[in-house]
């Protein structure tokens, strides 16, 4: 019983963390057909932004969260202005932007390295203490990650389905030409999508670093996991990504317990291969891609 509770708690924490990272990735792919490889670097920036504001400036934790959100959103906007805006109407956008964001990601990672150094630092924005559930002590920070993850999922779903901006985002994702002809300024929509995705990445940076440590390369692992989640769910499927993230978090935690920690990632990769063999468009994908 204790083991089951532990595995579930750990799985849900991982899942919530992956979900926040994956939804940002899925949103951008769904809306623009853009695989943002710099997503991991934005996440790193978010984590460091919170660290800087709290540790170096001595501001309260709320300011740290705000800084992570702002840093992520601004980087998302910057990627739109610097890369997407100019490349959008050029041919082979999906391939070019993939390579361009790969470069931006490396550059951002090295900016962090230059600013904060290569030594890992502890994320000050982390809650201490633990709660006992069935005689198992679950750290408060894990619960906080789960709660924050669920809240962000609900907020994203609400934004997409209950607001006018959300309707315009979904409309643009499904048929750009028709949306333009209805007067939607699709470029502004794209900029907003990248900012929202960046903000989610920023928060996810705090989550990831509160469990491990801050380091310039910390974005790599969650980026890979988020990508796995998106592939399993079907690229660009935001709701699928939410479900797949939680499911894969539970699978990884189970595999880590049953087979050993080093088999966690291997198990996920096996799942990706199986998915690509039997459902090449992802578990929730269709042959005709249903975006957002």
């Amino acid at each position: 019983m204790e083991v089951i509770v532990q595995v579930i708690a750990s799985g849900l924490t991982l899942g919530a963390m992956y979900a926040v990272a994956a939804v940002g990735l899925a949103l951008v792919y769904g809306a623009l057909g853009m695989l943002n490889i710099a997503h991991g670097a934005i996440l790193t920036f978010g984590g460091y932004a919170a660290f800087y504001v709290i540790t170096s400036l001595g501001l309260p934790m709320v300011a740290g969260v705000a800084a992570a959100v702002a840093a992520g959103a601004l980087l998302g906007l910057a990627i739109y202005v610097v890369l997407v805006h100019g490349m959008l109407s050029a041919p082979a956008f999906e391939t070019n932007i993939f390579i361009a964001t790969f470069g931006i990601g490396m550059a951002l990672e090295n900016v962090v390295l230059k600013l904060f150094g290569a030594y890992p630092a502890a994320q000050p924005l982390a809650l201490d203490g633990a709660v006992a559930v069935f005689d198992v002590f679950i750290p408060v920070r894990n619960i906080a990650i789960l709660v924050a993850g669920v809240l962000l999922m609900v907020a994203t779903a609400w934004l997409l389905t209950r607001t006018q901006t959300g309707n315009a985002i979904r409309a643009t994702a499904q048929n750009r030409a028709a949306a333009e002809l209805m007067g939607v300024r699709v470029r502004w929509i794209y900029a907003q999508v990248l900012a929202i995705s960046g903000a989610l990445a920023g928060v996810s940076g705090i989550m990831v670093s509160s469990l491990t440590n801050l380091s310039p390369t910390m974005g790599g692992d969650p980026m890979l996991k988020a990508f796995i989640v998106c592939v399993v769910a079907g690229l660009g499927n935001v709701y699928g990504a939410m479900i797949a993230a939680i499911a894969l978090g539970l699978v990884e935690a189970t595999a880590q317990y049953l087979l050993g920690v080093r088999f966690g990632l291997a198990t996920l990769l096996v799942l990706v291969i199986l998915t690509l063999i039997w459902r090449p468009h992802g578990l929730f994908g269709r042959t005709q891609v249903q975006r957002l």
Binding site: R162, T163, Q164, T165, N167, A168, R170, A171, Q174, N175, A177, A178, A179, E180, L181, M182, G183, V184, R185, V186, W188, Q290, L292
Partner: protein
């Protein structure tokens, strides 16, 4: 027709001027030095064989594609190089041959997107739908006969309903020019009649309409003027009732059988 001549007399300036427009794809001239005008409140029907350049012409006018040469003027303003959303805000709305709805949005949400963004796009739209927008959406739902389907996701609509939805999203932007690309292709006779009735109501509001259609009976019964394209060029422009007598149109497009049918449809002695 009386309403039209009245309207024309009051504002003699054409609403849309297409001036020597060409669109080349490599060596192919999809639209070849085409010029025509549309007056306010007028209905222009465009016909012609497949590949004649009709849809390309629509793409160029609505800004989805850039003209290789020539100019497009709308209400006196040059819109040749304007983007599609600016042209929409200027007052041109269009529908597509194929479904262009947003499948996961409900019918009402589809129309709301057009209503909110189609007139003057807000930078930060509020979270609540303003009453004026709500009324316009309701009116478009009513006019298109989709009021009973407002909550249905667009992806679940039947063919006729999808076409009606496209018209509803177009008219809710309150355009001065409505462009319909094969609005009744694939519909049954009864559905087509329902569509004609709806367009008659839209016309009553003074909108100019350009429609592309292969169904000649539909085209000639609605249009004030007909333009037939072939290989990107105009081969006929004039009254719909003379269409079936034009040798070139009959040869390249209609065929003799269809020409007889059109004559019969236009003959007041024969009930179509």
């Amino acid at each position: 027709m009386d309403g039209l001549s009245h309207e024309t007399a009051r504002s003699p300036r054409p609403l849309l001027v297409v001036d020597g427009v060409s669109k080349h794809f490599g060596a192919l001239a999809a639209v070849d030095n085409l010029s025509f005008e549309v007056m306010p409140g007028e209905v222009l029907g465009i016909g012609g064989p497949n590949g004649a350049g009709k849809t390309t012409l629509f793409d160029v006018i609505t800004g989805l594609d850039r003209a290789s040469s020539g100019r497009v003027l709308f209400a006196g303003h040059d819109i040749t190089r304007a983007g599609p959303e600016r042209i929409c805000h200027a007052g041109i709305a269009r529908t597509f041959q194929l479904n262009a709805g947003f499948d996961t949005l409900s019918v009402r949400e589809n129309i709301e997107v057009a209503a909110i963004y189609g007139h003057v796009a807000p930078v930060f739209p509020g979270f609540r739908i303003r009453p004026v927008i709500r009324r316009r959406v309701d009116a478009a739902l009513e006019l298109s006969g989709l009021a009973g389907r407002a909550a249905t996701p667009a992806g679940e609509l039947a063919v006729l309903e999808r076409k009606l939805l496209m018209v509803a999203t177009a008219i809710v932007t309150q355009p001065r020019l409505l462009m319909l690309d094969e609005p009744v292709g694939g519909l049954t006779q009864a559905e087509m009649d329902a569509f004609v009735a709806m367009l008659a109501r839209i016309r009553g509001e003074g909108m100019a309409i350009i429609l592309i259609e292969h169904v000649m009976r539909f085209l000639v019964s609605l249009a004030d003027r007909v333009l037939i394209m072939h290989h990107g060029e105009r081969i006929y422009e004039g009254r719909p009732d003379d269409l079936a007598n034009d040798r070139r149109v009959v040869d390249v497009y209609l065929g003799d059988g269809a020409a007889d049918l059109i004559r019969a449809a236009l003959d007041p002695g024969v009930v179509p």
